[in-house]
């Protein structure tokens, strides 16, 4: 197992418990999706792995995050990146006043193997040909899709063993979403790395992932291989927008659905 979350609990400001006993396994080479509603604790899970909670006054208060058998919970985020866990934050956080080139270069800022970095940059251009023409542009003025490509490219340059993607398709047009998804598939096929994808867009996430977890209110309420989840009625209704009968259900009806109540209890 490359990465293992064991009974992880996260508390913000010493009072707000966001994750309760979360268990997630990421085998080497797999793509794991984490689904869930807003506020379910998906981003918090990723930030716990990357140790980015401190700046938001949070911490992993219980449990272990084992990476290659070593507990990395609450350690220095800089070390975690150097060990190969790289996160693409939600909200397309490019370094907006720097150029695309400088952004990419910073992705590999800690690497000593300069000549290999140059090759890696070429590989990134192969995945995202659009970036090559934008090298000298200020990153803050890119379009949403271009920014997301830049971010994934920047993360790749850190030579990740696990790539954490927090809502990579948020706020993007359907066509761009498809493009990003196919790029992610391609990257997974060609690079030797695992991924964790956090998504609202369950369709997009499940098309890349081979295993998925569903988070509700800070707990894992369901998990399984993608085919199994795609067949599950609850998942179909809550996340994929499909319904059992002929008529589609409105959000309001679904929200008060009895089964969902059982989950939350």
């Amino acid at each position: 197992m490359l990465l293992e979350l064991k009974n992880v609990e996260v508390v913000y400001s010493g009072v707000v418990q966001v994750l309760r006993s979360v268990n997630i396994d990421v085998p080497k080479g797999s793509v794991v999706a984490i689904l869930g509603a807003n506020g379910a604790g998906k981003s918090t899970t990723l930030k716990a792995i990357s140790s980015l909670l401190e700046i938001e006054h949070g911490e992993v208060s219980d449990g272990e995050i084992l990476y290659q058998g070593k507990d990395i919970a609450n350690t220095d985020p800089a070390d975690i990146v150097r060990q190969g866990i790289v996160q693409v934050l939600e909200g397309r956080k490019v370094l907006e006043h720097l150029t695309v080139e400088q952004n990419l270069r910073l992705g590999a800022h800690f690497r000593k193997d300069r000549d290999v970095v140059a090759e890696d940059v070429e590989r990134v251009f192969n995945y995202f040909p659009a970036l090559r023409a934008l090298l000298k542009r200020t990153a803050g003025y890119l379009s949403g899709g271009e920014m997301q490509m830049l971010l994934v490219g920047r993360a790749l340059l850190a030579k990740p063993k696990i790539l954490l993607l927090d809502e990579p398709t948020m706020g993007l047009a359907p066509l761009i979403v498809e493009e990003i998804v196919s790029c992610l598939k391609q990257i997974h096929a060609q690079e030797d790395m695992s991924m964790i994808i956090v998504e609202q867009n369950a369709n997009a996430a499940l098309s890349v992932a081979d295993y998925a977890y569903v988070l509700e209110n800070g707990r894992i309420v369901m998990h399984g291989p993608k085919e199994e989840l795609q067949k599950n009625q609850d998942i179909q209704e809550f996340y994929l927008g499909l319904s059992i009968g002929q008529d589609r259900k409105s959000f309001r009806e679904i929200k008060h659905y009895k089964r969902r109540k059982r989950w939350l209890g």
Binding site: E96, L98, H109, Y141
Partner: protein
């Protein structure tokens, strides 16, 4: 004509002095997003440290100056560690307010440690003036100006071309993003403060060489802050260019306008100029344009 050239060239030299103090503002701001209003006081403390190394310890100048720079680097680390690091993640507003607390604290501490009396500052650069044709240039300021330009070029290269410099820029943009890329925010802040305080000490030595040192040395801070704002708080070359512009404006005003206004305009004129420029370019001449999204 000679009067004009003379006044312009003295203005440029004075402007370069403003420029190096403004640089120390910029360096701290770039990596930690702290507008350190107490920068004038930092210059003052740097000056007293240099004076202490040369006069109290009796070190020869070639040892006293490195000693002063080393002490001011430690001073920077202390400020970062005990004042600004605990405020990481607080709104910018709180950080600016902390620098106001620092103004009061550092003035008080300086007066207690070294006393309020003025004292002669060691003469680091040769006194007098260099004659170039009919133009007279203050030697200390001339050497200082060269140092400013070297420092600026070095810093510009550091921020734009080196990984360490780019890391500082990343931290300046957003702490969480920087952390997610494996950049240590703490280390960057320390580097920024060490650079900022040592630069301040360098500027103190240029400003005071062979002159008189007292707590009034801190006034340079609020004269250089507008320069840093004019150049753009993020821009190294902006600080130097803005310094030269303001220095020239001040010199011209004092030569041609002061006789008419009883000596008032030369001090106000730079402010008016700067406010006018900011009205047209709110981010300063070379600063980062704020990319606002709601």
């Amino acid at each position: 004509m000679i009067e004009l050239v003379q006044s312009l060239s003295s203005g440029v030299l004075l402007g370069l002095l403003y420029g190096i103090v403004a640089l120390s503002f910029v360096v701290i701001y770039r990596a930690s997003r702290v507008v350190n209003l107490a920068q004038g006081e930092v210059v003052m403390v740097g000056a007293f440290l240099a004076w202490m190394a040369a006069s109290s310890f009796g070190l020869p100048l070639y040892l006293a100056i490195p000693a002063a720079l080393a002490m001011s680097a430690c001073f920077g680390v202390i400020i970062e560690r005990f004042v600004f690091r605990p405020l990481t993640g607080q709104p910018i507003f709180a950080v600016v307010m902390a620098s106001i607390g620092l103004i009061i604290l550092l003035r008080g501490a300086t007066m207690v440690i070294w006393g309020p009396a003025t004292r002669p500052f060691p003469q680091v650069f040769p006194l007098g003036a260099i004659e170039i044709g009919p133009i007279l240039l203050n030697t200390a300021l001339l050497i200082g100006g060269v140092i400013t330009i070297i420092c600026a070029a070095g810093l510009n290269w550091f921020f734009m071309r080196t990984d360490a410099g780019l890391r500082l820029a990343a931290v300046a943009e957003d702490h969480t993003t920087a952390l997610s890329m494996g950049i240590s925010v703490k280390k960057s802040a320390i580097i920024a403060w060490v650079l900022g305080t040592t630069l301040a000490t360098v500027s103190a030595i240029i400003m005071l060489s062979g002159s008189v040192l007292g707590v009034t040395a801190a006034e340079i801070g609020f004269r250089a802050l507008p320069v840093a704002l004019l150049g753009g708080m993020e821009s190294v070359r902006g600080a130097v260019i803005a310094g030269v512009l303001v220095g020239m404006a001040e010199a011209l005003a004092s030569t041609y306008l002061d006789p008419l206004t009883n000596g008032a305009l030369s001090q106000i004129f730079p402010f008016i100029l700067i406010i006018l420029v900011l009205l047209i370019r709110p981010q300063g001449l070379f600063g980062w344009k704020i990319i606002e999204r709601i």
